[in-house]
Symmetry: C2
Subunit: 244 residues, 2 copies
């Protein structure tokens, strides 16, 4: 059988769409390992590892740039409609969220280096749990993207609420330490911003979950979404962490 020229064009386009999706998955993998390293640098007070994370963020940025260029080229040359268009828009948006998750990871690493210059603050119990949870939901939402798994995407929202709750209790804990001993103040303010970064990572994972839903279902997820998660993803900062 000989493929017609039309078939050939279609197959070439499919290959390009697949390449776009592969780039997104690759960016996601890199962001996951950046996050793992950032969290390890934080918990082990490892400034050398933190420096590696900061340097590695440029690779994430470059991959996002590649995704943008390929997506815009496909939009221009292939003039896609319906599901193909949705694939390209989803890749663009997910890449944007991944780039921001990478930024937050790099910022955790930057602040870790500053915190490491001060004597250790008493163990902040909620921090490793929060960091672990953030890593898990980033992994889950990337799996949901690869497998086009809507149920898994929806589960990400629910788990993001746990992160928000941990963030609230962590904030209170840090205020208490600052009040107990003013020498803790500088380190604790950086830990507050680190916690905030981790909480924002959860919000961006939630955004990606929403995009996966749109990609698979062809319509935005509004009603299926738990109430708390709507607030968390809709605002730059969820209201519950403002009230603490």
């Amino acid at each position: 059988m000989v493929a017609s020229s039309g078939d050939h064009t279609v197959r070439a386009f499919d290959a390009e769409l697949q390449r776009l999706a592969d780039l997104v998955v690759r960016t996601g993998g890199l962001v996951e390992s950046q996050l793992a390293a950032a969290m390890q640098a934080l918990s082990r007070r490892d400034s050398a590892l933190a420096a590696t994370v900061i340097a590695g963020d440029a690779k994430v940025d470059a991959l996002e740039q590649d995704i943008q260029e390929l997506a815009v080229r496909l939009l221009a040359l292939r003039q896609p409609v319906a599901e193909d268009l949705r694939h390209i828009v989803a890749a663009l948006k997910i890449a944007g969220d991944l780039e921001r998750i990478g930024d937050y990871g790099a910022n955790v690493a930057k602040r870790t280096m500053v915190v490491n210059q001060a004597p250790p603050v008493r163990t902040v119990a909620a921090m490793p749990r929060m960091a672990g949870l953030a890593q898990e939901i980033v992994k889950d939402v990337l799996d949901a993207y690869v497998e086009r798994d809507v149920e898994r995407a929806i589960a990400v929202w629910r788990r993001d609420e746990e992160i928000d709750e941990l963030h609230t209790s962590l904030f209170r804990e840090l205020v208490t330490y600052m009040m107990e001993d003013p020498r803790n103040i500088t380190a604790c303010t950086h830990l507050m911003f680190i916690a905030k970064n981790i909480e924002r990572i959860g919000d961006h994972a939630t955004n990606i979950a929403e995009i996966v839903y749109y990609l698979v279902q062809g319509r935005p997820l509004k009603d299926a979404r738990p109430k708390g998660a709507v607030a968390a993803a809709g605002a730059a900062e969820p209201s519950q962490d403002v009230g603490v």
Copy 2:
């Protein structure tokens, strides 16, 4: 003279592109007034005004949604290339940055309401200057978009560095107040996050400036950019505010 059907299609498309640009400008105007109200609520300790800002953010989100829908529809139906494609991509990206500026403004308002529940902290000198500067560069970058003014866009980056410097000195000032009197700690941590929100508004204005450059020149701005501004826009958090 009677326009051919081809002319008619072209003119209809131009009208749609204009409508897209108008939506972006309208969103920008709304974000400007939200910011002005948020900053006023902060400086006058006006919780009623802050509540208005928080409620008003939904309008910004709805406008961004409108822009996204129109942009995706134009991509699908009109299959634009070259400059037209760039217009649509630019509108999409600017809308995203405006939506985030709106979020940060709403968050300033949320935290203002919390800060207002505590007794007033001593005047923080850098805060109103920083807030004023952030409002100015948002206005400037929107003017640059309307007038396709590259010089004005580039000036926005330079001014964003001033915001970063004010942010650094404000952070130090707040740490000092917390050390002087532990009763200031809770209010000061919220003021720190407010300052951080304002600093991030500057970063997003810088992003928009970069998009205006790309829109007008057809290539990304890399070399023309001052060094400090590259760091500020490239990272979630500019390095200078991490080192304080």
